[in-house]
C-alpha cells in the first residue's frame, strides 16, 4: 500500500469498495472510481450546487445528493437500485413537463444532457402532466440566445460565469414556480458583458443558452448521445481499469 493510498478513506457504493480523498464529494469519488451516478446540475470544474436532485443516492439508508455530500470513512452508498432509478426518472420527468421541451427542433438535441438522461433512464413518456408554461426567449445578445423554455434551473451558467469567467452575468430571480435565470442588465443578455467565448456560454446542459449560428452542425447519428448513453465515458474508465 503506497503512502498516498494510506491517506485515503474508503467506503462502498453498491457493495463495491471505493477509495477517496477527504473533502471529495460522493459524486467525485464515484466518477474517479468509474462509477456513474446520474447528475445534471453538477459539472466538473464548478462548485457543487445540489439543485436538480437527480444524483440522489442512499447514504447509510438516508437519501442524500451525491454531488454535495462529502465522503466519509465506511459510509454505505446505494446508487444503482430500481427504486433510485425510478426516483431519478420521476425527477427528470418533472423537468420535462415543467418547461417546453420540443426536442424535434432544438439545437441541443443529441447533445443535451436532460434528453440523454431521459434516454438513459428509458423514459418514453413523463408520468406527470405537461404544464406548457409561458416563457420568454431572449435574443438580445448578438452571439448567444437564451430560450427559457428549456431552462432546468441548474445554475451551471451562474457558477461558470462567477467561478470560471470572473463575471457575474447570471443569477436566479424570483422564487418558487416563478424562479428563473436573470441576467445582469435590464434589457436582456445583450446588455451584459457576456462574451460568446465565456465558459458560461458553454456550461448549459440543455438548449437554453445556445450560441447563435452554429446549431445543427453535427449530423444526426454523430451527436454526443446518439449511440452511447450519457455517463458512458465514466463507466468506460472503470472498464479500462478492470
Amino acid at each position: 500500500m503506497s503512502a498516498q493510498d494510506a491517506a485515503k478513506l474508503s467506503f462502498t457504493i453498491d457493495g463495491k469498495e471505493v477509495k477517496a480523498e477527504p473533502g471529495q464529494t460522493i459524486l467525485q469519488a464515484a466518477a474517479l472510481a468509474g462509477i456513474y451516478i446520474p447528475h445534471l446540475c453538477a459539472m466538473k470544474g464548478l462548485s457543487p450546487w445540489g439543485s436538480c436532485r437527480v444524483c440522489t443516492v442512499l447514504v447509510n439508508g438516508k437519501p442524500q445528493a451525491a454531488c454535495t455530500m462529502p465522503v466519509a470513512e465506511g459510509m454505505i452508498v446505494e446508487n444503482d437500485t430500481a427504486e433510485l432509478k425510478d426516483l431519478r426518472s420521476s425527477i427528470v420527468e418533472m423537468l420535462f413537463v415543467e418547461g417546453n421541451h420540443f426536442c424535434m427542433f432544438c439545437e441541443k438535441s443529441g447533445n443535451c444532457e436532460l434528453q440523454a438522461m431521459g434516454y438513459r433512464l428509458g423514459m418514453l413518456q413523463p408520468r406527470h402532466d405537461y404544464m406548457f408554461p409561458t416563457r420568454q426567449v431572449d435574443a438580445s445578445h448578438p452571439d448567444v440566445m437564451l430560450d427559457h423554455n428549456r431552462c432546468i434551473l441548474c445554475a451551471r451558467c451562474i457558477r461558470a460565469s462567477k467561478e470560471l469567467d470572473g463575471k457575474n452575468v447570471f443569477q436566479f430571480i424570483h422564487r418558487g414556480a416563478h424562479k428563473r435565470i436573470g441576467v445582469d442588465a435590464a434589457g436582456g443578455a445583450g446588455g451584459t458583458n457576456l462574451a460568446v467565448t465565456d465558459k458560461a456560454a458553454e456550461a448549459c446542459p440543455v438548449g437554453c443558452i445556445v450560441k447563435k449560428r452554429v446549431g445543427f452542425a453535427v449530423p444526426i447519428g454523430q451527436r454526443l448521445y446518439d449511440t452511447k448513453p450519457i455517463g458512458s465515458h465514466i463507466e468506460a474508465g472503470r472498464a479500462a481499469k478492470e
Binding site: G50, L153, I173, R175, A177, A185
Partner: protein, 611 residues
C-alpha cells in the same frame, strides 16, 4: 413616484452602503418609494458596488417587495386554512366590493393595494389582515367598510380606531389590535421573570459548564426539528472561527403557529437573556433576531427592550461586570417568505440575499452567518435555556417526559372555544388538550402546522412529544363538517407559494401534487391517482433539498393514511372511455364560445357538457 433612484441612494447611505444590509435597504426603499423599480435596482447596485442581477435576485424573492407601484395602504388578507374556515372569503369579497379592485391590484387613486398573504400568526383571532405593518384582527365585513372609508378620507393609518389588545399589545410602542390569548402560563416561558438573574448565574460558571447544564436538561429545539440544544452549542463552541454568532429564529411562518409572537410580546427580555447566555457559552459576541416582516409592529418595542438592556449592562461590553464578555443583538426584519424560517435560508436572508437555503453540510454550527460558526435557536428554545441556567437542569428535566423534557408552548387555533397559547409540560395527549381548549366533535387535528400531520380521532390518545406527535407548537382543530381533503389542498397551496424553487422535486413536485389532489376535490380523480399521489409524494419527500420540500407532501401523505376513505369516496365512477380528468365539454367550451355554436360531438351549451 419617480424618485426611486434618489430614495435608493439615500437609503443605501443610511446603511453605510453595506451590501450585507441589502435586506434592510430593500425594505426601506419599498416603504419609502412604494416599489422597487428597475431604476432602484440600478441605483442600489451602483451604491453597494454589486451586480444589478444580485440586487434583483433578492428584490424579487420576497413577497413584500414589488417592482410595480403599490398603494399607500397595502392590505394583505391572511388566506391561511384557519382564516378561510373563519370567513376570510367574505372579508375578501367585502374588500373587493369596497375598493372595486381584485387581489393583486392597486386602486386608480394609488391609495390601496389588495394582496393575499399566508398565515400572519393570528390564527387565534382570525380572520386577520395586515395594513402596511398594522394588524387588524377578527375582521368583519362591517369593519372592512369602516376601514376603507377611514383610510380613504383620513389618508393616514393613524386615523384607524383599533381596539388595543391585552398585555404589552397596548404598550405605547406596540399599540396593536392583537390579543395574547395566553390561556395557560407554565413554569418555564411564562413564569415571572427578573432581568439578569439567569445571566448572572451563567457568568459565574465557565462556558463549558453552561453547555453541560443544557445537555443535562435534555432540552431539544422548540422550532420543530427538535435537535438537542446542548449538542448544537457544543459544536458551535468547538468550531473554529474569528467571529461567532447567535441567532434567534423568530420567523414563525409555520401556519397556525403564533406562540413566538406572544413570547416576544410578553417575555422579550427572557429571549434576549437566553441569547446572551448562548453567546457566552459558545464564545459569540454578536446576536441576530430574525423577525418575520409580519411582526414588524413589534420592532420599535423590541428595539426599546434591547436599549434598556444595554443601559442596564445586560448587553454591550463587560456585561454584568464580567470583564471581556461582550454581546449585542441586532434585529433583522424579514419580508414575507416562509422558507426563511429554515435556518440556512434565514442566514442567506440575514446576509442580504434571496432566501435560498444553503447546502448542508457544512451545518451552521460550522459555517453559518458570513460562513462563521452560528447557533440558531427558536425563540422558545432561548427562553428555556435561560430558565435552565437559572433553575438547574434537573428542575427542567423533571417536567415533561423522558425524551421530551420541559414544557411546550402550544398555539391552538380552529374549531374550539378557547383558541390561544398554552404552556403545558410535554406528554399531554391530544384528547386532554382538546378538552382544555373546549373542542367538541373534533374530526381532525393538524399537528405541527402545514408541514406536520393531520390525525383523526383514532390517534387522539397519543401524546405531544418528540417521539410521538412532534410539533413546533401549531395545533389546528377541525370540527364536524370540515373537509380533510380541502384542508390538505389549502396546505399544498401554501407550499407551492412558499417553495423557494431551488430544487426540482419541491419546485415542480408540489405543483403536481396539488393539481392531482385537486382532481379528488373536483370529482375528476381515478383510482390510479391514489398511487400517483403516494409515489410522487415520496419522491418529493426523499429527494428535496431542505425541510420545506421534505415535509411539503405531508398534508397528502397523512390524509392518505388517516382519511383514505375520503379519497376513495371522491373517485369518479366513469361511464366513458375518457379519463375522468379530461372533460371534453370543457375542452371545447372556449372554441364553442368563439364560434357561437355547440360542439358536434360534445354538445356545449355555455360551457356545459351534453350528457
Amino acid at each position: 413616484m419617480t424618485d426611486n433612484a434618489s430614495v435608493s441612494r439615500q437609503v443605501c447611505g443610511n446603511f453605510g452602503n453595506d451590501k450585507g444590509r441589502l435586506m434592510d435597504i430593500l425594505i426601506g426603499v419599498q416603504a419609502q418609494a412604494g416599489c422597487i423599480a428597475p431604476e432602484a435596482l440600478d441605483e442600489i447596485a451602483k451604491s453597494l458596488s454589486m451586480n444589478r442581477v444580485e440586487v434583483e435576485s433578492a428584490a424579487t424573492f420576497y413577497a413584500f417587495f414589488s417592482d410595480k407601484m403599490r398603494g399607500r395602504f397595502v392590505i394583505r388578507l391572511c388566506n391561511d386554512v384557519i382564516d378561510q374556515l373563519q370567513g376570510a372569503d367574505r372579508v375578501a369579497a367585502a374588500f373587493r366590493a369596497e375598493l372595486g379592485i381584485e387581489f393583486g391590484q392597486t386602486t386608480a387613486d394609488g391609495l390601496f393595494s389588495l394582496a393575499y398573504t399566508p398565515c400572519i400568526g393570528m390564527s387565534d383571532q382570525a380572520p386577520a389582515v395586515l395594513i402596511n405593518d398594522r394588524v387588524v384582527t377578527k375582521v368583519s365585513t362591517d369593519m372592512v367598510r369602516e376601514i376603507v372609508q377611514t383610510l380613504r378620507t383620513g389618508k393616514s393609518l393613524e386615523h384607524l380606531k383599533l381596539t388595543l389588545g391585552d398585555g404589552n399589545n397596548s404598550h405605547p410602542l406596540v399599540r396593536a389590535m392583537v390579543n395574547n390569548n395566553l390561556r395557560e402560563r407554565g413554569a418555564v416561558v411564562f413564569a415571572p421573570y427578573t432581568p439578569g438573574v439567569a445571566l448572572q448565574r451563567a457568568l459565574s460558571e465557565q462556558p463549558v459548564e453552561i453547555i453541560k447544564i443544557i445537555k443535562a436538561s435534555r432540552l431539544r429545539g422548540r422550532g420543530g426539528a427538535g435537535f438537542p440544544t446542548g449538542m448544537k452549542w457544543e459544536f458551535t463552541r468547538a468550531a473554529p472561527g474569528e467571529r461567532k454568532f447567535v441567532v434567534c429564529n423568530a420567523d414563525e411562518g409555520e401556519p397556525g403557529t403564533f406562540k413566538d409572537r406572544v413570547i416576544l410580546t410578553e417575555a422579550p427580555g427572557l429571549v434576549f437573556e437566553g441569547m446572551t447566555i448562548a453567546g457566552y457559552a459558545v464564545g459569540a459576541s454578536e446576536g441576530i433576531v430574525y423577525l418575520r416582516g409580519e411582526y414588524a409592529y413589534l420592532l420599535a418595542y423590541l428595539e426599546d427592550v434591547l436599549a434598556k438592556r444595554r443601559a442596564a449592562g445586560l448587553l454591550g461590553r463587560d456585561i454584568l461586570g464580567k470583564a471581556g464578555f461582550k454581546f449585542d443583538i441586532r434585529i433583522q426584519l424579514g419580508a414575507g417568505a416562509y422558507v426563511c424560517g429554515e435556518e440556512t435560508a434565514l442566514l442567506s436572508s440575514c446576509e442580504g440575499k434571496a432566501g435560498n437555503p444553503k447546502t448542508r453540510p457544512p451545518f451552521p454550527a460550522q459555517k453559518g452567518y458570513l460562513d462563521m460558526p452560528t447557533v440558531i435557536n427558536n425563540v422558545e428554545t432561548h427562553c428555556a435555556a435561560a430558565r435552565i441556567v437559572e433553575n438547574g437542569p434537573s428542575w427542567f428535566a423533571s417536567m415533561g417526559t423522558k425524551a421530551s423534557s420541559g414544557t411546550k408552548v402550544f398555539s391552538v387555533s380552529g374549531d374550539c372555544a378557547q383558541p390561544g397559547v398554552y404552556e403545558i409540560p410535554f406528554g399531554i395527549t391530544v384528547q386532554e388538550l382538546l378538552a382544555r381548549v373546549g373542542a367538541t366533535d373534533t374530526i381532525a387535528v393538524q399537528v405541527g402546522g402545514a408541514s406536520g400531520r393531520m390525525i383523526g380521532p383514532s390517534e387522539f390518545g397519543r401524546q405531544f412529544c418528540f417521539d410521538q406527535l412532534a410539533t413546533g407548537g401549531s395545533v389546528m382543530v377541525f370540527g364536524k363538517g370540515r373537509d380533510p381533503l380541502a384542508i390538505a389542498h389549502g396546505f399544498m397551496d401554501f407550499f407551492v407559494e412558499e417553495s423557494c424553487g431551488y430544487c426540482t422535486p419541491c419546485r415542480v413536485g408540489t405543483r403536481l401534487l396539488r393539481e392531482r389532489l385537486g382532481r379528488f376535490l373536483e370529482g375528476r380523480a381515478e383510482a390510479a391517482d391514489l398511487d400517483y399521489l403516494e409515489k410522487t409524494s415520496k419522491v418529493v419527500k426523499n429527494a428535496s433539498r431542505c425541510g420545506l420540500g421534505q415535509t411539503a407532501p405531508n398534508p397528502i401523505l397523512s390524509t392518505l393514511q388517516s382519511f383514505r376513505s375520503e379519497y376513495e369516496r371522491c373517485i369518479k365512477k366513469n361511464g366513458t372511455v375518457f379519463l375522468p380528468s379530461f372533460d371534453p365539454g370543457k375542452a371545447v367550451a372556449v372554441a364553442a364560445g368563439i364560434a357561437g355554436r355547440a360542439s358536434e360531438h360534445f354538445g356545449t351549451k355555455k360551457g356545459g357538457v351534453k350528457a
